[in-house]
């Protein structure tokens, strides 16, 4: 088992996720965290109750929806193959499944000294981006800000910034306008999944 996850997404973020109202990159990163975190799985499951209750309260429009012709369903349980099981330092299940990736076969692009990136495509209409970032041990990113919300999920190793240390499964949420300077763990480096609603802003 991986060490306990101590840093979870903000309550407001979990609400928007359960509502289906998070932007696509942020939803991807929260879904990855949820797949690694039993506690947040329970939270998200409970929050679907909010949607269910509000759906029941909404005023109904027009007449009934016609029932389609009833097809006699088989009673056998259909089971799709679900090969993914969370293991040590694999990609979170939703990411591995959507992109058919494993951490070992990623084709990294070098961004700079000690910094490697792999972009994960999203739907064409989406603003923002989703990518994996690999930092070699001790690598220090430049101080930077963000044009929109950014959510970082640690997959392997660890990094720290002024707010503390983040390990596998931990989430760091940064709002637009906040600046920080993450530093990868001296021994392990780190690989993170990063969801950004707006571009990264370098501060010289």
């Amino acid at each position: 088992m991986s060490p306990t996850i101590t840093r979870h997404p903000d309550g407001a973020t979990l609400m928007s996720f359960a509502a289906g109202a998070l932007s696509e990159p942020l939803a991807a990163a929260v879904s990855a965290h949820v797949s690694m975190c039993a506690e947040c799985r329970h939270e998200v499951r409970d929050l679907a109750l909010v949607g269910a209750a509000l759906l029941g309260d909404a005023p109904a429009s027009r007449g009934p929806v016609a029932a389609p012709v009833r097809v006699h369903e088989s009673t056998s349980r259909e089971r799709s193959a679900r090969p993914h099981r969370e293991r040590g330092d694999e990609l979170p299940a939703p990411i591995a499944r959507k992109y058919g990736l494993t951490l070992e076969d990623i084709d990294w692009t070098r961004l700079g000294p000690g910094v490697w990136q792999h972009k994960l495509p999203l739907s064409p209409s989406t603003k923002g981006e989703l990518y994996l970032l690999k930092l070699i041990p001790g690598c220090r990113l430049p101080v930077h800000g963000h044009a929109g919300a950014e959510l970082t999920l640690v997959l392997t190793g660890a990094f720290s910034d002024a707010t503390g240390e983040y390990r596998r499964g931990d989430v760091l949420e940064v709002d637009a306008g906040t600046e920080h300077q993450p530093v990868a763990d001296r021994l392990e480096g780190c690989i993170c999944l990063i969801a950004a609603e707006g571009p990264y802003i370098l501060k010289g």
Binding site: G11, A12, M15, A19, L49, G51
Partner: protein, 178 residues
Amino acid sequence: MPDFLSRIAADRSDGAFRRLFEEFGPQIRHYMMRQGADAATADELAQETLLAVWRKAGLYTAAKGTPATWMFSIARNLRIDRLRKEICWQELSEEIAEATPSEDAAPEDTASERQRQARVQAVLASLPGEQRDVVTAAFIDGLSQTEIAARLTLPLGTVKSRLRLAYQKVRAALEDLK
């Protein structure tokens, strides 16, 4: 409402099948139209949601949530996939339950599931209007926090804190049922 849906889903008769669409079709249509679907598309998506609820009702166990939560989750995922044409990252609770059978303790029984639903309904009914509006904008209108801020002309931080307060109340209300 959730009990009524549970009964319909448990009763596999043709009459129950028709009633499912009559009773719940309009809610889902309304939900889809709030996301900008035209009436015909909203009807199609309502049918598709309820067919899935009906099919999955046979697989119902408390661990996978109530029919009411599936109905919401299925409708939400269809909305993201068909109306927003985005990748849907929200897994249905039953898929999560299947993918992670051993680690997640299942809630004891259906009664406690109903109790959870009742508690959440009570919390929502008691929310101050300003929190309830923000929660409804997210769950029913599917608006992001930034979109809610723009629609209600509020700072983003205020939207977040209202959502967070509502979240903490839901959590507190379910605490002893964990």
